[in-house]
């Protein structure tokens, strides 16, 4: 499973980072920076929570 970020949609709300700190980092301007695209074992729930947290649908999960 992969976590993908559409950087044209990321507005820097930063809400994705809280439920998935191991998957998403925020840069000094507040924009999301993925730690990697492949979601590690056991990370699916956090990834789904990060996707759901974004008010602008910038994150998505693909098989």
């Amino acid at each position: 499973m992969k976590l993908l970020l559409d950087s044209t949609r990321c507005q820097g709300y930063g809400l994705c980072q809280e439920p998935a700190p191991e998957l998403v980092d925020l840069d000094e301007w507040g924009y999301a920076r993925l730690q990697g695209t492949v979601v590690p074992e056991g990370g699916a729930e956090a990834a789904a929570a990060a996707v759901a947290a974004c008010p602008n649908s910038a994150l998505r999960l693909v098989k």
């Binding site: 993908l4 301007w29 924009y31």
Partner: protein
């Protein structure tokens, strides 16, 4: 005046040779153009065997892209991408203006190899568009080919921007995946191919005996403050120093590679060759083959600040990280050039150049990050000197609008 310099070995057909009187249909047909295509698979096999790589900048294997488009579900579309975003490159506009039939022949062949139902020429240069329309009107038509005009910008030739524009939207990149080969124009699998790539396919088809040499030859644009700019066709592996010497750039202290995409290269640049993999291994990129040489009295800090400033201004302003990132890189490099860098500015540039690549929807942010990274890697002393003494070259520098990189189409 931009010169034209074919450096292909005698007997090898080159792209820079125009028939006397121009490339009209009759001379193009007489030279073997628009030759029948008995088996599309055979040409695709030849493209694969020669390891032809795309000439838009990324250097992706042409046969892999052709196969991906052919094998994707749906009837493909072939796009000749003639929107040359790099200000220091002229090859694509030159080809469309002077060899439109060669490019259209490449479109025809790419359509045959992918079983595409239609083709499209994507262009912003007015003279290129006129030449293509004239050639379309007289060519032996067996494929629908449309011309789509765009506004020139640094990112308008990026493959997803091309698809958006052809579909009636703005010429701005979008996030990938999906890539155009699977979901492009009108949702169809779409081959977005640089016009030089298509021209080489056409010559590969008409001159099978010279296929390997044709695929291993590059159009290159040379520029710099010392000598005249030139459009050159040269074999892969040619030393950049050999190219520089031809137009008075041989004393150069440094070279900016790949238009603005491949970063600066300082001491040791004379050992570099015209080669995608070799330049990548050296931390650079061949990109579209544009090389900008710096004289010893040119300041690499001024060039870096100018390049980053131009890229920041050319940001499509869709990705927040690109607006913030290019703005920070350009602003900080400009401060370094003025001798006003803060104590932690070099550390910031280093951090950004590591953290920003790969984060925008297109490669513009990566280009700006590589400018900063390579400046710091190749010219640490020059950067430091700007803190201690004022730099005359930076003081005299024009506004950071990229004007110094622009080359006139010959």
């Amino acid at each position: 005046m931009t010169g034209i310099l074919p450096l292909v070995p005698a007997g090898q057909p080159g792209l820079l040779t125009v028939p006397p009187g121009g490339e009209d249909l009759a001379p193009y047909l007489a030279a073997g153009g628009y030759a029948p295509l008995p088996a599309p698979g055979a040409l695709l096999g030849r493209v694969a065997a020669t390891e032809l790589r795309g000439r838009g900048g990324a250097g992706f294997p042409a046969a892999v892209k052709l196969r991906a488009v052919r094998d994707a579900p749906g009837r493909p579309v072939v796009v000749a991408n003639g929107e040359e975003g790099e200000p220091g490159s002229v090859k694509d506009r030159w080809l469309l203006r002077h060899r439109p039939h060669l490019v259209l022949d490449g479109v025809r062949l790419a359509a045959a190899m992918t079983d595409a139902a239609r083709g499209c020429v994507y262009v912003s240069d007015v003279r290129a568009e006129q030449a293509v329309r004239r050639a379309l009107a007289e060519r032996p038509a067996d494929l629908r080919v449309d011309v789509v005009r765009t506004e020139h910008s640094y990112v308008a030739g990026e493959e997803t921007a091309v698809v958006r524009r052809i579909d009636g939207g703005p010429a701005l990149p979008r996030a990938k995946p999906p890539r155009p080969y699977e979901n492009g124009v009108g949702g169809a699998p779409t081959l977005v191919a640089n016009v030089e790539t298509l021209a080489r396919i056409a010559v590969l088809h008409s001159h099978p005996d010279a296929a390997a040499a044709i695929a291993g030859t590059y159009l290159v644009t040379l520029s710099g403050t010392a000598g005249e700019p030139a459009l050159v066709e040269a074999p892969a592996g040619t030393y950049l120093k050999t190219l520089a010497d031809l137009h008075g750039h041989g004393r150069a202290e440094a070279v900016l590679l790949g238009g603005l995409f491949g970063g600066l290269h300082g001491a040791g640049w004379t050992d570099l060759r015209l080669d995608h993999d070799g330049l990548a291994a050296a931390g650079g990129a061949l990109g579209c083959g544009a090389l900008h040489f710096l004289r010893p009295e040119d300041c690499p800090v001024a060039v870096a600040a100018d390049a980053a400033g131009y890229l920041a201004a050319q940001s499509a302003r869709q990705c927040g990280v690109c607006v913030s990132g290019t703005g920070a890189l350009a602003g900080t490099l400009a401060a370094v050039a003025r001798g006003e860098a803060a104590d932690d500015d070099i550390a910031k540039l280093l951090r950004w150049s590591g953290q920003l690549p790969g984060r925008g929807a297109c490669g513009l942010l990566d280009a700006a990050a590589r400018i900063a990274a390579t400046l710091l890697a190749h010219f640490p002393d020059r950067v430091q000197d700007h803190r201690d003494t004022s730099c005359p070259a930076c003081g005299d520098a024009a506004p950071h609008d990229g004007r110094r990189f622009a080359v006139a189409v010959p």
